[in-house]
């Protein structure tokens, strides 16, 4: 079930009504409702993989309790590694097995040997990377004695499977979400209205920006040999807004939906395209994943302790792993590596925390220096997205070679220029709104708060009109593939 489908538009009000009008007085019932709804939501995609989700939940719940009850460190270690191995094992089989098998065959072929790798004909269970990471953070936190094991199976299951975050995050932490699930929730008008606003803005990002940009990004990338450098560059820019609109739009809908149920999820995006350097970009892009890697990989590896070189090594490791997390393809690894290279100067010269606050806080416009910094950071990001979007490394290099040629000075030419122009205008409108609202959690959170309510409602109706009128051809959320 997609967030931007009519099915979800029916599903959400039903669950909302049952949640606040039928089960509101009983927390246990409320959590059971959330769990059943979440499993139904997931089963709408493919009910067979529901068993995998339940198995993963039971595994982490059980090993969590066993770790808590362990009488000695060895016993605790056993349950910890059992959980880690099985979790990563599932991820490895479903997500990476074919990649490793094919890569192994290619490597062997370099020595003149032919092998036919046994590949699995399975589809990637949607959300496996996300719920596995939920489970991993939970068992690691128990192992490190940061939290106690959750004894209530329903509560723990809701933490893993809560439908707004189930298939594409944000990647939650037990320390943040579990206490909210265990606590009685009361309806909060401000929070619920805020949630609706965030859903509306998420739908705009996904349906108007991402889906329209996708049409051109797909056309240009899929036929890259036919286009000039300027067109390919434009295609890369379209993809940059597609992936931002798509993923941050999804996250907004997820966060807004959760707010309707009185639950706050972790923020996932904070206007990343207004970043002044790559380090800031990574503090603002897919925040829940970046912080996951920071807490569960970077810091255990030593983090920034021990001088420059361990820091450089650890940074390379988290970016490579982050790239690989996105998918079993060398293009993602190259994307991660490129971002590691981008961030390296600031790591070496200790300037990675130079831009901690949002750009031009309290001002209408950024300074010339900030405009230059934002432009440069965006340009570097666009270049990196070429690797992310390309089907293969040779394709990415072909595109970059063309973009580096004289043909980049030519006027872009492709089918559907008029629609592309409309998409660009919509994107500019979107950037302006994002700029205006950059000091909030999401762009329209406080937009028009000083206006009369009727004017504010007209603004929301205009957004609704844009969503219906300028809807692009429906595309599956990109992060469903991860």
């Amino acid at each position: 079930m997609l967030f931007n489908s009519l099915n979800f538009a029916i599903f959400l009000p039903i669950v909302f009504i049952l949640y606040w009008f039928v089960t509101a007085k009983n927390l246990k019932l409320q959590n059971i409702l959330l769990l059943v709804s979440s499993y139904f939501f997931y089963a709408c995609w493919d009910w067979r993989f529901l068993f995998l989700l339940i198995f993963s939940t039971v595994l982490d719940y059980y090993t969590g309790i066993k770790m808590s009850d362990a009488k000695n460190q060895n016993n605790k270690k056993f349950w910890f590694w059992l959980s880690i191995t099985i979790n990563l094992g599932f991820l490895g089989v479903f997500k990476y097995y074919n990649f490793f098998a094919a890569s192994f065959a290619d490597a062997i072929a370099n020595f003149g040997l032919q092998v036919n790798p046994w590949t699995l004909k399975v589809i990637l269970p949607v959300g496996i990377s996300f719920y596995t990471f939920h489970g991993l953070s939970y068992v690691i936190d128990i192992y490190k004695d940061r939290i106690k094991a959750e004894k209530n199976f329903i509560d723990y299951s809701v933490f893993v499977s809560f439908f707004p975050l189930l298939v594409a995050g944000p990647i939650e932490r037990a320390t943040h979400l579990l206490p909210q699930i265990q606590k009685k929730r009361t309806f909060n008008y401000t929070k619920a209205v805020d949630g609706l606003r965030q859903i509306l803005w998420g739908l705009f990002k996904k349906i108007v920006i991402a889906d329209n940009c996708a049409e051109f990004a797909n056309m240009i990338f899929d036929n890259h040999t036919e286009y000039s450098g300027s067109t390919l560059l434009l295609g890369a820019v379209f993809f940059s807004f597609q992936i931002y609109g798509d993923f941050s739009g999804y996250s907004d809908i997820a966060l807004g939906t959760a707010r309707l149920f009185g639950i706050d999820l972790l923020r996932n995006f904070a206007f990343p395209y207004f970043s002044r350097d790559i380090a800031e970009f990574w503090r603002r892009w897919h925040i829940s994943l970046s912080s996951w890697f920071r807490d569960y990989l970077y810091i255990p590896l030593g983090g920034s302790k021990g001088g420059t070189w361990p820091k450089v090594r650890n940074t390379f490791i988290i970016f490579l792993v982050s790239g690989f997390w996105h998918g079993a393809n060398w293009t993602f690894i190259a994307w991660g590596l490129l971002n590691a290279l981008y961030i390296m100067p600031s790591i070496i010269f200790n300037t990675n925390r130079n831009n901690m606050d949002i750009v031009a806080r309290g001002k209408y416009l950024p300074s010339v220096k900030e405009i230059f910094q934002i432009g440069l950071t965006f340009g570097l990001t666009v270049l990196a997205w070429i690797f992310f979007r390309a089907d293969s490394l040779p394709q990415a290099f072909e595109i970059i070679t063309k973009i580096s040629s004289k043909s980049t000075l030519a006027i872009p030419e492709f089918r559907g220029l008029y629609k592309a122009l409309v998409t660009l205008i919509l994107t500019i409108f979107f950037i302006i709104l994002e700029w205006i609202g950059r000091e909030n959690d999401f762009a329209i959170q406080k937009f028009g708060f000083k206006w009369k309510r009727s004017f504010r409602w007209v603004f929301y109706l205009v957004i609704v009109f844009f969503i219906f009128y300028f809807a692009g051809k429906e595309q599956v959320f990109i992060y469903f593939n991860f």
């Binding site: 009519l6 619920a192 109706l461 809807a471």
Partner: protein
């Protein structure tokens, strides 16, 4: 919660009201009965897709309205025709273009793919009944919702234009003159639809079903209905569909008059491509057709 429920209800009510009022205005102002009335002497209707739109020059055919529209599936033709027939009891004869490509499974795309929906819903979306809406929603929900919302706004402009006599002025389909001349190729042409069809000739049940509905509706209204195939260039290869095409004619339209003008002699310079006549060809053919029916 009370305040929240109230505000949500009001907001949704406003949206619903905008939609309902818009549809109502389209139904009552744009497609009001008076607008689709024809002068009393018009008694012949020509229906179908781009072939009739290019082939029947009504300047040479007496008392005839050409409602041919490029890319129009029979489902939309059916609802348009119903509206016009209901308001014009003087119509006695209807000619529906039936060509080989219309049996192909690919015609389903003409009913519900994104691009066709955009045009068709805008042109005649408010004429559709529940059954048609259900079909479109089932086959392409997002495409339908998107096309429907677009039509709501696009047609607002049309509401303020005088639509009286919209049928005779061609707002529901018309003769489209074309001056391009077909450059004959050495190898036989393939029909365009071949790109999207299955070679084992899967049939578009929906397209045929709605053609049957047109026929039945006309019969119920005592209108003489005739299926017709307008001229095609000799390089246009129908051989691989002809058998099935004729079988459908025999089985599903067995008592219906069939007028096959496919091989009517039109010189090469009378075609704009292998399937469609140009203005020159249309003039020759329309003069002939006029004699044929009168």
């Amino acid at each position: 919660m009370k305040k929240f429920s109230k505000e949500i209800s009001v907001f949704l009510f406003i949206i619903a009201t905008i939609v309902v009022v818009d549809v109502f205005l389209q139904k009552t102002l744009l497609f009001k009965d008076e607008n689709v009335k024809l002068p009393k002497d018009y008694s012949v209707l020509i229906l179908g897709h781009s072939h009739p739109a290019n082939a029947y020059d009504t300047n040479f055919i007496k008392n005839t309205i050409n409602m041919g529209t490029a890319g129009e599936a029979y489902m939309y033709t059916y609802y348009k025709a119903k509206k016009v027939i209901d308001n014009n009891p003087q119509i006695k004869n209807i000619y529906v273009e039936f060509t080989n490509n219309q049996i192909d499974k690919g015609m389903d795309n003409w009913i519900w793919d994104d691009i066709h929906l955009q045009y068709r819903i805008k042109d005649c979306g408010v004429l559709l009944d529940y059954e048609a809406i259900q079909l479109l929603y089932e086959k392409n929900p997002t495409g339908f919702i998107n096309a429907f919302s677009k039509s709501l706004f696009d047609n607002l402009r049309r509401l303020f234009i005088n639509k009286k006599g919209m049928v005779e002025r061609g707002a529901m389909g018309k003769f489209i003159p074309c001056d391009a001349v077909y450059v004959k190729k050495t190898s036989p042409d393939r029909p365009k639809s071949r790109k999207i069809i299955n070679y084992d000739l899967e049939i578009s049940e929906y397209n045929i079903l709605y053609l049957q509905k047109i026929v039945k509706y006309c019969q119920n209204k005592d209108i003489e209905v005739c299926l017709i195939r307008s001229p095609m260039h000799k390089s246009y290869d129908v051989s691989y569909t002809e058998y099935k095409f004729k079988e459908i004619l025999r089985t599903k339209f067995k008592n219906i008059q069939w007028l096959d003008n496919k091989d009517f002699p039109i010189p090469d310079k009378g075609f704009q491509d292998s399937e469609h006549l140009n203005s020159y060809g249309a003039k020759i053919y329309s003069q002939y057709f006029n004699k044929q029916i009168n």
